[in-house]
Amino acid sequence: MKIHIDEDRCVGGGQCVLAAPEVFDQRDDDGIVVLLQEQPADDLDHQVREAALLCPALAITLEETAP
């Protein structure tokens, strides 16, 4: 799975960081999302999907990649 983020949409509430702290962080100067890994290991799938579902600004999209 490949993650895309749209920084322009992000409102910096940190839902993604709570859901998947190994994959998402927030910038110190404006709270905007930082992607720590674009293609995280499969065992983080569940967390990443939850982050995308919880993101209030619909700033996280997931692209399924071939297994």
């Binding site: 949409r9 409102v11 910096g12 509430g13 940190g14 839902q15 960081v17 709570l18 859901a19 702290p21 962080d25 927030q26 910038r27 110190d28 100067d29 404006d30 709270g31 905007i32 939850e50 579902l53 919880l54 209030p56 600004a57 619909l58």
Partner: protein
């Protein structure tokens, strides 16, 4: 129910005979039938009420929906709230990059998930001191005054860099903001006083900055002329008021809910794993949904919701309470039904903080405050009990944010 044509009056009163934590039954009825209905509000206008979890999410993130109070048709909560919001308009009630996203980003870095988690020990200290004082005082004690209000008030004032402001005065003025009985003149006067206070602090900090939020606004925004003193004062006012009243109501109501669900309380009290308290807080936010008078929006283009066309210029109210009890989102067959409190339920997708670009900016602060308070209170006072029957607790049915005016406890 008071019917005005086909549009019931909103907000509906909570049913005194039912559980005080349950939203009015009429709301569940709308959710489980049409999902959407026109309601009549205080000024005679008839906005749409949206009640289902999926529809609320869709509306709050829809480009045809505006949060700008200056748009024709915006369904205000009352004349007093309209007056206050117009006097102190901020990004909270505006749309777009310049009017919402950019000013919000100026504050967002102050409330990031990691930054708030790093405050855990500070919040623990504030909580422990409040509990020490309550224990040293008389029984029964009012938990609202002794614990629920002090913890978030101290925290938001410290973050702003205003530890010495008169906390009681700030709490009183904020109470005026959320009381349904306030007049427009009352709320505007309260707003003026708080704006003056924050403006004064900004001036002081421009001269002698410290390591706090208002100092950063003063040195990085005010002094270089990026934003005016008025705009920055309004942003400070929003944080000060949104930052204590809400968390305080969650602490008081959450304590009442746990004391009436002792099996759930025991799970939190006895847990070693901090994930238990974290999950419990999400479930309490869902179950209690203190923002109970509906989020307010207006359509700026036509849109389709639950098979109904909402026309441009029509008001829309998002009823978070029934949305957070929607079986389509919260019944999974493994946990208790959505009308019950089950702290083991995965509830993070609740709408208690809203959804869309206006979703609560202070949510990570609120989470840590609530996690610390609920994982500390019942351990420190295992015998804590309500000092009055639940039905005698003066619940805030008269306020735009639900809670308890007073919660007498003993131990």
């Amino acid at each position: 129910m008071l019917h005005t044509g086909d549009a019931p009056a909103y907000p509906m009163p909570r049913d005194a005979a039912r559980c005080p934590f349950d939203p009015p039954a009429e709301l569940a009825e709308i959710r489980d039938t049409d999902g959407i209905r026109r309601v009549q509000i205080w000024d005679g206008s008839r906005p749409w009420l949206v009640t289902r979890h999926a529809d609320i999410r869709a509306v709050l993130s829809h480009p045809a929906i505006s949060a700008d109070i200056d748009n024709e048709g915006y369904p205000h909560q009352s004349a007093a709230i309209r007056a206050r919001r117009s006097r102190a308009k901020t990004f909270f009630t505006a749309d777009g990059v310049e009017e919402h996203d950019e000013p919000r980003r100026v504050l967002a870095r102050e409330f990031t998930a990691k930054r708030m988690q790093s405050l855990r020990e500070v919040i623990q200290g504030v909580t422990d001191r409040a509990i020490d004082e309550m224990l040293a005082g008389e029984k029964p004690a009012d938990l609202v005054e002794k614990l629920a209000l002090p913890v978030p008030t101290v925290m938001i004032c410290d973050l702003l860099g205003a530890p010495d402001v008169d906390h009681a005065r700030v709490q009183d003025l904020t109470k005026v903001f959320v009381a349904a009985s306030s007049t427009p003149a009352d709320t505007t006067a309260a707003a003026e006083e708080l704006l003056d206070l924050i403006g004064g602090l900004l001036d002081e900090k421009a001269q002698a900055p410290g390591d706090d939020l208002l100092s950063r606004l003063a040195t990085e925004q005010l002094v270089p002329g990026l934003r005016t003193r008025e705009e920055l004062s309004r942003m400070g006012l929003l944080l000060l008021t949104a930052g204590h009243e809400t968390s305080a109501n969650m602490i008081a109501l959450g304590t009442a809910a746990l004391l009436t669900n002792p099996d759930q309380l025991a799970l939190i009290r006895d847990a070693e794993d901090p994930a238990v308290a974290a999950g419990a807080v999400e479930e309490l936010l869902r179950y209690l949904t203190i923002v109970h008078s509906g989020l307010r929006r207006v359509a700026i283009e036509d849109l389709e919701v639950a098979g109904t066309t909402i026309r441009r210029g029509e008001g829309v109210i998002l009823a978070l309470g029934p949305g957070n009890r929607d079986a389509a989102a919260f019944a999974d067959g493994e946990h208790a039904g959505p009308d019950s409190l089950d702290i083991t339920r995965p509830a993070r997708h609740h709408l208690a903080f809203g959804f869309g670009v206006h979703q609560c900016l202070g949510q990570q602060l609120a989470r840590v405050e609530l996690q610390v308070v609920f994982s500390t209170l019942f351990r420190r006072i295992p015998t804590l009990a309500l000092a009055q029957p639940l039905t005698d607790v003066p619940f805030k049915t008269d306020m735009s944010i639900y809670g308890a005016h007073e919660l007498l406890v003993t131990w």
